[in-house]
């Protein structure tokens, strides 16, 4: 909240002579913009941009971690140790419903972002509630699938294939769980504190996180379920 005071209220009406986008952390506008080299110009970027960019880097590192799990799954897919294969275990209809739920929750999250930017509190809370319900429905279906697999003696200890399966899908599920807790926190914070700049930044990071989870799920249903059940 103190950071917003650091942003100059009225920027000078200077048209930059040359737009250099690679001065991250610095304004592109300002006096002597095109002559200054090395250091950025015009003072530091707003905290909004720095925070979102930093969170973007975190998300990309998170996706790199998922890539390692996907690689493990792809390599261990055939290692069923005489146990059931993906084609025997996976319920593709269930996966399709999960996919639609997560996609719709991503859309609802986008509506919540729009409501936040339009400063419409009621619409924001409603859209976030819908996002939560859809995400919780996704998680419930996934947990039901997991308990069903364990009950059929196809738990993570059964084979290398199932270990890799539970790791990659479970890790995504853990991210969704953390996202749902974060979502509730954001609803409470907007409700209690209003549209403060620091709260806006947190909601922006949350929406990035939620959309990124949907992107990872695209890889999950493609690599794990569809390709895993085809072989």
């Amino acid at each position: 909240m103190s950071s917003s005071a650091a942003i100059p209220g009225g920027l000078p009406d200077v048209v930059p002579m040359r737009r250099d986008p690679n001065h991250l952390g610095h304004h592109a506008a300002g006096e002597g913009e095109s002559r200054a080299t090395g250091h950025g110009t015009g003072g530091p970027s707003s905290k909004r941009i720095v925070v979102a960019y930093g969170f973007w880097i975190f998300l990309l590192s998170d996706i790199v971690m998922f890539a390692a799990f996907f690689a493990a799954f792809a390599v261990l897919r055939g290692g069923t140790a005489g146990g059931p294969t993906g084609a025997e275990l996976f319920d593709i209809a269930n996966v399709a419903i999960e996919t639609v739920l997560l996609l719709l929750s991503s859309f609802a999250c986008g509506v919540a972002t729009l409501a936040l930017n339009a400063r419409r509190a009621l619409l924001f809370q409603a859209a976030m509630a819908v996002t939560f319900l859809l995400g919780a429905g996704f998680l419930a279906l996934e947990l039901r699938e997991f308990t069903d697999l364990v009950a059929r003696d196809a738990g993570p200890t059964r084979s290398a294939f199932l270990s890799a399966f539970f790791t990659v899908v479970g890790c995504h599920g853990l991210h969704v769980t953390a996202g749902l807790l974060w979502l509730l926190t954001m609803m409470a914070q907007v409700f209690a504190k209003g549209f403060r700049p620091d709260i806006l930044r947190r909601v922006m990071c949350f929406s990035l996180f939620w959309h990124a989870l949907d992107i990872v799920w695209v890889a999950v249903f493609t690599v794990v379920y569809l390709m895993g059940s085809a072989a």
Binding site: P8, R48, W56, A67, A219
Partner: protein, 152 residues
């Protein structure tokens, strides 16, 4: 808001878009993204169940649909553009994609060759006794190693 002024002059944060003060145009972007993503999802699930497609081409089709859908998410949900204000976000993404490609593709490539070149005799259940001077028969699709493989 002072942030609005700021965005017009400098970099754009990932997930941000210029015109997002207008609720309607923002919603339109999300609706287009939702429709395209649903379409690509349906295509992915359909391809695995149809008999129309040549079976070996199915994984290629699935990968194509998945990459396309990720692109749809990035453009319509995360508002990544090719504009100059997004250069930093795109460069970070490009680096991430490079690492993902090296990690995933490299692992699959290496382990596939390890399997076919080293594990094949065990999985086939046949263990030929090694004879000096008689090179092992290379399996189907297995390239001959330099130095005549199988002597260790």
């Amino acid at each position: 808001m002072s942030q609005t002024d700021d965005r017009a002059h400098a970099d754009v944060a990932p997930g941000d878009e210029y015109a997002h003060e207008e609720f309607g145009s923002g919603l339109r972007s999300y609706l287009i993204g939702l429709a395209l993503a649903l379409l690509l999802t349906a295509a992915s699930f359909w391809v695995t169940h149809t008999q129309v497609m040549w079976a070996p081409a199915i994984p290629v089709a699935l990968l194509t649909f998945a990459i396309a859908q990720m692109g749809v998410h990035l453009v319509f949900f995360l508002h990544l553009t090719s504009g100059p204000d997004n250069t930093n976000n795109i460069m970070a993404l490009a680096f991430g994609v490079l690492i993902v490609f090296l990690l995933f593709g490299g692992s699959v490539w290496i382990m596939h060759h390890m399997n076919t070149n080293m594990m094949a005799p065990i999985e086939g259940g046949v263990r030929m006794p090694l004879q000096k001077g008689v090179p092992l028969q290379p399996g189907p699709g297995m390239p001959m190693q330099h130095g005549g493989g199988g002597h260790h």
